[in-house]
Symmetry: C2
Subunit: 81 residues, 2 copies
Amino acid sequence: MKARIHVSLKPGVLDPQGKAILGALESMGFDGVQDARQGKLIELDLDDDTDADTARARVDDMCRRLLANTVIEKYTIDLEG
Amino acid sequence: MKARIHVSLKPGVLDPQGKAILGALESMGFDGVQDARQGKLIELDLDDDTDADTARARVDDMCRRLLANTVIEKYTIDLEG
């Protein structure tokens, strides 16, 4: 089973990487870009011996305890397979 | 129009962040995780005055010139709206 976790900054939190991308694109002559945000996409290969609900609960626990700083970040979990 | 760009390491390229995540999960007692990989997810808000093909070509150019190091990274582009 594969878990895809998208970790991104909560709305209102300053995104310096996004701002850096936006500035660089503009300085390179790419107009028409209104905003840019950068997050993390973490892919986990999990053993297949658990059901989807159990796997989702475990991955959620991994996010809360390690993969996301829930003070400033939010996350979504997609399970495949 | 929104572009979602997933930048990830090419197969075979060492992923130190992925290995660090894997090691940390194991040391925290999360078993059953076979592998972990970390990539970037960049979201761009684009002006709506271009058609999808033109927008895709421009975002591809942004990826080649700035957003991805195509020597060790690959990327996918999803357009929405």
